[in-house]
């Protein structure tokens, strides 16, 4: 309810400008460090200008690599969304089922991906298949756990109300438990969305297929690091980072669409 005076307008302006200012400051600091390095160490840290140059030169390569890695990330993430939801529905049915399956889910999560990858390469061959499965394995666990928790945390009174109305088990699940679990589901999705691009790049690094110029960002990482192309490496990292942002933004948008009308986390009075 604060009046739209100059004070609040100034603070809103400051809030919008400060992140930009921080970014500019960091780039300047980066330049300063580059200039401070002695000539024989300068190759260790490319200057912002060199990174920008690498972007210009390798643009098409980076773009096609990002598309390749991105499709692995999307496929793996999508697979994780569907399978984690289905498994969470099953796990939510009883505590006995959860007790008998959770330990093995943990096993899946605890096994290092770096060891699983070569096995996958032998089973399904290098390329999109392996990358998809590795992404899936990395995203899956937090998504199952969150959705399951949501499905079993339904307000006790609401469940009683449904039973009072003689709701069938299916009605109880799909009209009550699933919508009530949506906030949890989206929390899992957000965690998964930050992991998916990383999973795909790691997958591509270990199990990618570079034949016919189909290599993804992981493959580019191998190439540029072996050639000490520091500017290009930094550009590759930036593309990976950007991909992560796109993923998270997508999930945040979906969650806004599903929840903003009714869920308290979107109520205006809280902000």
């Amino acid at each position: 309810m604060s009046a739209p005076g100059t004070g609040s307008r100034f603070s809103r302006l400051a809030r919008n400008l400060l992140p930009v200012a921080t970014g500019v400051g960091m780039i300047l600091a980066w330049y300063a460090v580059c200039l401070g390095l002695s000539a024989d160490h300068r190759f260790l840290l490319p200057s912002p200008r060199e990174v920008a140059q690498a972007f210009a030169e390798k643009g098409p390569t980076l773009w096609s690599a990002a598309l390749s890695t991105g499709s692995g990330a999307v496929l793996g993430f999508g697979m994780a969304v569907f399978l984690s939801f289905a498994l969470a529905l099953f796990l939510s049915l009883s505590a006995l089922i959860r007790a008998s399956f959770y330990p093995y889910l943990m096993v899946l999560q605890m096994t290092p991906i770096i060891v699983i990858a070569p096995i996958l390469v032998l089973w399904v061959g290098p390329g999109l298949g392996s990358v998809t499965i590795i992404t899936f394995l990395i995203c899956f666990f937090p998504m199952v756990v969150n959705t399951t928790q949501g499905l079993i945390s339904t307000d006790r009174n609401l469940v009683d109300f449904f039973r009072m109305c003689k709701a069938s088990k299916l009605q109880e699940i799909f009209l009550l438990r699933v919508p009530a679990a949506l906030p949890y589901f989206f929390t899992g999705l957000k965690i998964g969305a930050t992991l998916a691009p990383i999973g795909a790049i790691v997958g591509d690094y270990i199990a990618g297929n570079s034949a016919g110029g189909q290599g993804g960002l992981g493959f580019l990482t191998i190439v540029y690091s072996s050639q000490f192309q520091m500017g290009a490496l930094f550009a590759t990292a930036a593309v990976g980072c950007l991909m992560g942002f796109v993923f998270v933004a997508g999930v945040v948008a979906l969650s806004w669409l599903a929840l903003h009308k009714w869920h308290d986390s979107f109520s205006r009075s809280d902000t």
């Binding site: 009174n157 109300f161 009072m164 009605q171 009209l175 009530a180 949506l182 009714w262 869920h263 308290d264």
Partner: protein
Amino acid sequence: MREAQTPIVELKGVEKRYGDGPLVLDNISFSAERGDFVTLIGPSGCGKSTILRLISGLNPVSAGSIVVDGMEPSKAVERLAFVFQEPTLLPWLTVSQNVEVPMRLHGTQAATRTETARRSLELVRLADRMDYYPRQLSGGQKMRVSIARALSVSPRIMLLDEPFGALDEMTRDHLNEELLAIRQQLAWTAFFVTHSVAEAVFLSNRILVFSANPGRLHDEIRVDFPYPRTEETRESEPYQRLVAEVSKILRSVERLKA
């Protein structure tokens, strides 16, 4: 109102314990005639909410029997409506969709549902809030939606478990009057749990006082003020005398527990 001789709800020697737990209810017997407004009052732990859950068929009795409109409780579900302590609305549905939930679960046609929901909401004077979400309503409004939802199935029996306990006194008094006004039109039998003696005396024609550990029926008080009751009833001397009297009984019951 008393055209039928058979009681609409009858409890005979009802006992209840959960699992291996202690006895919650011990040998409860009472019956209600059509149109009765029965209030259950007593110290916490006397099992008054449990009685509502048993009548609703939500939980089975451990011993004894309950007959609801000539049937066992779990078969009489379509004659009953339950109003919980909290509004228990689904936050992702609009007010009108919330009122439709019981009908949706029973497979009522969409057109009928919408029309019935609108009429129920008119009864609680919230027809202008049909498309709001629960979080946009006040506590009292949410409770009225909950009551509209209960009314939407045209129940013969309303079970109300301390529905106004969380509201401020002004809102509570107001909703009490509204509840009686609606009952005047629809003539259901009510079982109402409360901690408030004033509320009990204002609403009911019969007050059942329970003692705790285990829950036993201690006393019954008849309230003969004619309906419709209004603000004037509350200000009248006989009303206030009766409130004092029931409070005294309740205090003696609580001492019994200690």
